[in-house]
Symmetry: none
Subunit: 198 residues, 4 copies
DNA sequence: TATGAATGAGGGTTCATTCAT
DNA sequence: GATGAATGAACCCTCATTCAT
């Protein structure tokens, strides 16, 4: 019964995610979701108190996955004594690329639904903290230029990653994740040609 | 008559913009807009054929203003023989800062309303072209590091400007536009320690 | 001024009639009417108190014309000592044929607008009275079968004329007014087996 | 469940029919219909996709019923070796009297609603065909005067039935369906003086 | 627990009518 | 008198949510 219950919940979650991503939150009705999930309409309300609540659940799921992956990448980088910064950037771009749709959806709909605002804010702050941490580490290892204040650097890194994901497919088809990652790292590197700053 | 007419139109435009920004497009009803604009409900349809149309009008107005300002800044920079790049970055940050709300709205809602998609895409492409142009000019003047491909640089610059605006107020209250602008320029400069380019 | 005033009134009347006939009453807006009449919207209300009132005016105009024609026909028939009955039937069919469009409109929309009901009822009663009169005359002249009560006969005659108009063009293209008129007369004639009357 | 479902549907159908007849299609709002049917507003759209669709349903249901009744009457008349013509006329008058709405629809009270035009046209043609058939049968049996062409007779019969019903209630309260039916039959009879056919 | 018919608040939009110019 | 911008009541319809089964 527990198994069955969770299976239905997951079906609803998947259906909602799929529809939200392709049609947007407002244009995806509860009727659409239960039809996609192949359950009765009333069943939706057995698992989620409201349509808004299921978005929260989707975010939670996504962030859990992101968190897990990020940790994996960082551990892996540490183990292999590689640049955690470069690895992190690359890992994030890849993750975002894989989850582009849901990220676009979250970005798109983050305002306008008061009850979602807080959740999304928390999520972003957590993500920014992880960016800051990795920049801090890299700074300590001497790999970064020193003319940037950490907060500023974090914000700019966030912006680059963020827009890379949101716009990449549509506008910069020529840009590979590889190239983007390298360019971002390069921008933060002290100065590759100037040994005094390297 | 003409004056009165445009005044009402402008009131509706302002009201819609304000509400779209704070509540989102879907959550802002025509009833809300006319209440905010202090006109009758039917009056909305004297000036705009539909709720969707007013969004188009908002974008048009905003882009006209942006275009005008950008041209002004570039001319001014050329006249004073200053770095057009630095001036441009600063000008854009300022403009975005002043029009943060509408930019947030546009970013947020660009999907999900098919009829708006095209307009927004065009607008973004125009903006990206202007970024590319300014980077190209700076590159010719030897002020930019040469390890970045132009397309990549454009994308990253866009990302930085973009997220700076979207997130600055809420999350990085400490960051002044001044500092942000300088940091962005610095990231793209060939060599920060070279006083000639500073 | 009087002339001008009436000209505008007539333009509105014609425009309304044309639009009502082709699009129906509900689907013809006051905006449409004033556009067709090439006057300002407010002008409509200088000449008619409401949209409903203009329908009344159209009916009045039509009935005045019908009344005039009917009288002419009856006088003519009396003068030439012909069967006023046959002449009347024929005259009515012709008149209906010429005014088919507006009659269809009136028939179509006669219900549903309380304020029109009365006017149309009066008009129909006046018309029925004229039918009754002509049948009465014919009866006195011995030209009609005697197994029909006058009221019934009037109602049935009305029905035949009525549906002839409403359906003729669309459904019975083969039926000439000539044939229809003769058939109707024949039905009411005293005895078909009487060759003299056939 | 099935029973309940159809009961609500039928309540809506009855309410709509009643209101359409008394107020017309345009003046009968969905709100009116659901109020009359004593269901919630949304319930209307559980059973009918639109206000227009319920008209189609009314026509379909009505015509099915008419068809059934007509067949019954004709069979019964045949069995009892009575005049099928007389029975048919009487049956139609009775049915239309009870189902005035159908007749109004048949006569396109609702023109201007393109999607209904076709349905109504088809229905009317089918009905006219049935009138023609019954006249043909009667003709073969020698019960009808022979000076009428079949098409003309059909059109005239339609007109008599039509206006008898539509106008009887309002205008000729004195005329019973009985009397009307007899008069119509008489008009078409070969020879009224023949007591055997009277 | 699962269901889906029932619900009604609220949405965008239309249009007859008014009234200041 | 002529105008058309302004108006808001009323329309049809949607959909998140409830609840009896």
């Amino acid at each position: 019964m527990q198994i069955k219950k969770d299976e239905v919940r997951q079906r609803l979650l998947n259906a909602a995610c799929k529809l939200f991503v392709s049609n947007g939150y407002v244009e995806s009705t509860v009727s659409d979701i239960v039809k996609e999930a192949e359950v009765g309409k009333g069943t939706f309300y057995t698992y989620f108190r409201s349509k808004e609540e299921i978005v929260g659940a989707i975010i939670d799921e996504g962030m859990a996955e992101l968190s897990e992956k990020t940790n994996d990448y960082m551990l892996e980088a540490k183990d292999s004594k590689k640049s955690t910064f470069k690895a992190f950037i690359r890992a994030n771009l890849e993750f975002f690329s894989e989850n582009q749709a849901i990220l676009k959806f979250l970005n798109r709909e983050m305002s306008g639904y008061a009850s979602l605002q807080n959740k999304i804010k928390v999520v972003r702050e957590r993500y920014l903290a992880s960016l800051r941490t990795i920049l801090e580490q890299e700074l300590h290892m001497g790999g970064l230029r020193k003319d940037l204040e950490l907060g500023t650097a974090t914000a700019l890194l966030y912006g680059m990653l963020y827009s890379s994901v949101l716009n990449s497919r549509a506008d910069y088809q020529g840009l590979s994740l590889e190239k983007l990652g390298e360019s971002i790292v390069a921008l933060f590197r002290a100065n590759i040609s100037n040994p005094a700053l390297a």
